[in-house]
Amino acid sequence: MTPPLYIALRFLSHRKRAFLLSLCGVIFGVAIFICTQAQTEGFAQHFIDSTLGSNGSLILRSRFQPLGAGLPVPPKKTATHHKATQRRYIEGITNAREIMRVSRQFSNVAACSPVLRGTLSARSGFENATVDLFGIDPALHLQTTDLTRQLIAGTFEDFRDNPASVIVGSKLGQELNLTAGDSVQLLSPGGEYWRFMVAAVARSGVGAVDAGRVYAHGKVAQTLLRRPYPASMIIYKLRDPDRAPALAKHFETLFQHNSQSWQEREAGNLQLFLTLRISAAITVSLIILLAGFGIFNVLTMSVLSKVKEIAILRSMGYRQGDISAIFLWQGAMIAAAGAFLGSAAGALLTWGVSHIPIRVRGLLVADHFLVAWDWRHYFWATILAVVAVFIASYVPARRAALLPPVATLRGSSV
């Protein structure tokens, strides 16, 4: 044990109550930081999982052509950053099978599935609603999304085996008073109602999906929507969803189809979650900062009460660095104990919060507080505590080191 550490331990035990109060501040700050981060990330992660499970990590849509294609002279003002706006989109994907065959060669692509999408009116009894129809290939869609895990009534097999059946979103089902086994009518663009059996009800956890989505068989949807093409988009399940933006960019160049990653698709919601996380982190950091002020005060008082001891130590050959280290060690011990106990308290608090029942029905669906268990929350809470305590300890420590011993000794010897 170094001499400064040895002396720091003894000094620390001298002002137990003040140091315990400072320690409590750090523990509280660290625990709340961990808990709030776990909650905000928990809700965000749930939303991401739900949206990936329903809409995939990447979506390939309409084919496009540059506006100047085929012209003998390129049009004026063809700056590269206007590229996206100078496209002509051609609705629908005519060569979905070929695109999917090529796509599967990419290592990051786990599965892909064609979807024919359209908007229709639905009727059940006296209730009407606008629905977002997804015409799917049941087998491929099963591999690409979490649809089977989302079913809360009925079975996927009933849907797969019956082309005249649909799966409806849970919120839409409530709106139209539908459950598995009921029938629903969908209004075609030609003005005639088609009757379908509700094979299952799905709850994705994403409010917008649950409120309007209806899954039907692809071929049936094509006829119903009167579309000349079998797919309007291809959705992809990726092994590493974080790399979706790069792959989307690559697909766009390769297939000349509009391609969108889930990060781009959900940018607004992700931004909201990120803002909430940052806001919570800033608020909770203030608690740690306040604890830092407490430590600053305690250590400053400690320095003032140990002026004589500092002069004695200096007269015995302790260097300025040693004196500084004595007070920095005290801060370090508070930071270490605060981070350790705060992490334990944070874990306990997070566990407790995750068991609080709460009914969330909006942007996402949840029945209890959602939390994420991530070592990074503990790491950053520890870093924050260490930095705050170091800053709080540095000034008193520096002040102690620079105290002129002669002034103290002279003052005491008169």
């Binding site: 001499p3 004589k308 002069a311 007269s315 015995m316 050959g317 300025q320 002279r410």
Partner: protein, 232 residues
């Protein structure tokens, strides 16, 4: 160079205060401390005794002149190096003993040894016990320093000053806070150690009887040594 010389200072100048309140505290003080000798510095309050002591003890730096310890000029070394020299070569005894209250008698004596770092924990404990035994406190090793009497605390301070076996012991009114009996006992102890172990002791005192027991008496007045006489 005389091998028995522990410390010399030559033409020490020191100014204290700023601007109007600036005073010339030391005006060309020169002094030589040989091994095995006890020196007393006497003089009226404010004549510069303590200022001289702190400069010789490397706690303060002179504005002019030089301090040499064991033939090495030390007065203008960097702060860390001065601290090392203080730890290794100098032992301080103050009027108000200045022990660390949170520590026991033995732990107080071990503090300079910890900084020096030459001994193991057990060796430090054993040496501290030995020194406290020598000053008559062998039975009170573990007692917190604040629970010791004034005389006992001063004896702990003496033991602490000897912890690293320094060549020079500097004492600022070491018996100023003690009664006659304890003063005499403390002085006898210091004198015996100096003579037996070949140290040099410089003590600042207002006590003429104690000064008369020293080998050398340096009378200071207005920042100068006006008279230095050896005891016959």
């Amino acid at each position: 160079m005389n091998q028995d010389v522990c410390l010399t200072c030559c033409d020490i100048q020191r100014f204290l205060g700023e601007e109007e309140s600036r005073v010339h505290a030391l005006r060309g003080v020169s002094l030589t401390l040989e091994a095995g000798t006890v020196h007393a510095v006497v003089g009226p309050s404010g004549c510069g005794k303590s200022t001289l002591l702190y400069i010789l003890g490397l706690l303060d730096q002179p504005d002019g002149g030089s301090v040499t310890i064991k033939s090495e000029p030390v007065s203008h070394l960097p702060d860390d190096e001065l601290a090392r020299k203080r730890n290794e070569l100098i032992g301080f005894i103050f009027q108000f003993h200045f022990l660390l209250e949170d520590f026991s008698a033995q732990e107080n004596v071990m503090i300079p040894m910890r900084r020096l770092g030459r001994l193991s924990e057990n060796e430090m404990r054993s040496r501290a016990a030995e020194l406290l035994e020598a000053v008559g406190l062998g039975a009170k090793l573990a007692r917190p320093s604040r629970h010791l009497s004034g005389g006992e605390q001063q004896r702990v301070a003496i033991a602490r000053a000897l912890a690293n076996d320094p060549d020079v012991i500097l004492a600022d009114e070491p018996t100023g806070n003690l009664d006659m009996e304890n003063s005499q006992r403390a002085f006898d102890l210091l004198q015996r150690i100096v003579q037996e172990r070949g140290k040099a002791l410089l003590l600042v005192t207002h006590n003429p009887q104690m000064a008369n027991l020293c080998d050398w008496i340096h009378e200071m007045e207005d920042g100068q040594i006006v008279n230095a006489r050896q005891r016959v």
